[in-house]
């Protein structure tokens, strides 16, 4: 079940550019995706118009598992982050597929945050009604 956070009603909307709109459109549907090359099947993030490995311009959105590990975490407290009622926990997550994403972790006390934390994707609503992928601590299996 995909969780949707409304913790920050003023969270900035994503900015859609020609090469990246697919990522944010998928997030609006509750899908966490990355660009996959149509030529060599390599996954890339951030997206880019040409695959740097095989130079193909063919590409499509590939659904990711949504599971990953926190590589780095911070809490910007000053100046306050625009659009956030409280300082967010900002993370760099490496997904199981080996891609890295800047995102947030919600649902954890900052005192419990640590690099190496296992997380899974959730979504957060933005000011203009879009959704962006964030992460929560992974459920113990």
């Amino acid at each position: 079940m995909t969780r949707i956070s409304s913790a920050n009603p003023h969270r900035p909307d994503p900015v859609l550019t020609i090469d990246t709109a697919f990522f944010w459109a998928a997030a609006d549907e509750g899908r966490f995706v990355a660009q996959q090359c149509g030529g060599c099947a390599t996954l890339w993030h951030p997206p880019r118009p040409v695959c740097p490995k095989c130079l193909s311009k063919e590409k499509h959105a590939h659904d990711l598992s949504g599971r990953g590990t926190v590589m780095s975490w911070i809490m910007p407290v000053h100046p306050p982050a625009h659009g956030f009622d409280a300082p967010p926990i900002v993370v760099l997550v490496e997904t199981e597929e080996g891609l890295r994403f800047v995102s947030n972790v919600e649902g954890i006390d900052p005192r419990q945050m640590k690099n190496g934390l296992k997380v899974e994707v959730a979504f957060a609503r933005t000011k203009g009604g879009h959704q962006v992928p964030i992460f929560v601590p992974a459920e113990e299996i």
Partner: protein
């Protein structure tokens, strides 16, 4: 060098005061800094035929010529990548004058970065035209909106791997402020700090960056004039020979948002610069007498120290604590107080200090300076007498 007369030299340096509010336009700061550099060199603005600044600078060669009466440019260009581009300007200037693209090149950076705008405030606009890399798009909706946040996000794996504490970072800040305290041109002249002051300063980005880990955003202008050695002989100053100036930027890396490639505890671009620069200059950065190391934030100093070969990975904190970078140590660090203690003019005020150290005219003069190393992550240069 096959033709020593052809070698590029820094022959003039100029700067305005560094302040909270300059009270005049950026274009005027640009003109004042260039005039000061011309005066220093013994050149007229009419001698300038090459111009370079940052792509972020709000003045251009049109303004420069219209203000200073420079009759004709042979070459002008702008360098990208913000403060990381500060030492890159020397790479371009060296090649430009040695190849004859131009004869007398002026480099400047002029900004009311304190009074008119501050880089440190949240950035919430993404330019959909994509004039630069799109990194902001991936950070902004998640609240990573400031250089301090981006820096902390990329530095955390390094800091945690090697157990670098806030006190370790604080000692770097204390050193910069100690140097600034006896530099009359510094924002923090007469205002040294203790490690306790650093520890008590407010959090900017926990768990690593406090207020006193951040550079001092300032208004001001800096200019540097580069020409060939044969021309330099007739000028006023002892020329600062550009023994080497190198730039390296590797696949899938970014500048301050360098999150996506490789081991984040290493600065791969800087390691590459060190290799090329050592070959070009004939000596390594740690063999020089003064280290001008880009200090937008304290962690950046440690990571560059290691990448540029001053010490092994993880040993940067000890290198500082053991006093090697004090004014009387083997590699004094930014005797002007650096960007944390003197001012943040996007890195360029560290270059002018390097030249003063070589000339022997600095406020905090290191003894017997033969060579100086300067770096800004993706670029490094060594100047010599």
């Amino acid at each position: 060098m096959a033709n020593p007369g052809n070698e590029a030299c820094i022959v003039g340096i100029g700067q305005t005061e560094f302040s909270r509010a300059s009270g005049r336009s950026e274009q005027q700061l640009c003109a004042e800094a260039i005039l000061a550099a011309c005066e220093d060199a013994g050149l007229s603005p009419k001698d300038i035929d090459g111009a370079m600044t940052f792509d972020l600078d709000n003045s251009d060669e049109v303004d420069l010529m219209r203000n200073l009466g420079t009759p004709e440019m042979k070459y002008s260009m702008r360098t990208p990548q913000g403060g990381a581009g500060s030492v890159t300007t020397l790479v371009h200037a060296k090649k430009a004058v040695e190849s004859g693209l131009c004869d007398v090149m002026v480099i400047w950076r002029a900004m009311n970065e304190r009074s008119q705008y501050r880089f440190g405030q949240p950035h919430t606009a993404v330019n959909p035209k994509g004039l630069s890399s799109t990194f902001m798009e991936w950070c902004m909706p998640f609240g990573a909106q400031t250089p301090a946040a981006w820096e902390a996000l990329s530095a955390t794996p390094y800091l945690e791997r090697y157990g670098v504490t806030s006190e370790d970072l604080g000692r770097i800040s204390v050193l910069f402020r100690q140097n600034a305290a006896t530099n009359p041109a510094a924002w923090f002249y007469g205002q040294p700090i203790t490690l306790e002051d650093h520890q008590k300063s407010r959090w900017i980005v926990p768990p690593h960056l406090k207020l006193l880990d951040c550079c001092q955003e300032s208004d001001g202008g800096v200019a540097i004039i580069v020409t060939r050695r044969d021309r330099a002989r007739d000028l006023r100053q002892v020329p600062a020979r550009l023994l080497g100036a190198e730039y390296a930027f590797l696949f899938n890396h970014e500048i301050i948002s360098d999150f996506y490639e490789g081991d984040l505890a290493e600065l791969a671009n800087s390691v590459r610069v060190k290799e090329r620069l050592t070959a070009a200059a004939g000596l390594a950065p740690h063999e020089t007498n003064v280290a001008m190391i880009y200090d937008n934030f304290t962690p950046q100093v440690l990571r560059q120290l290691e990448a540029f070969g001053y010490c092994k990975p993880g040993e940067g904190k000890h290198y500082i604590a053991d006093g090697h970078m004090n004014l009387d140590g083997k590699s004094p660090l930014s005797p002007n107080g650096g960007l944390i203690g003197e001012a943040y003019i996007h890195g360029m005020n560290n270059i002018t200090e390097g030249v003063r150290q070589l000339r022997g005219t600095a406020a905090n003069q290191v003894k017997h300076v033969e060579t100086v190393f300067m770096c800004s992550g993706v670029a490094g240069a060594i100047i010599g007498r």
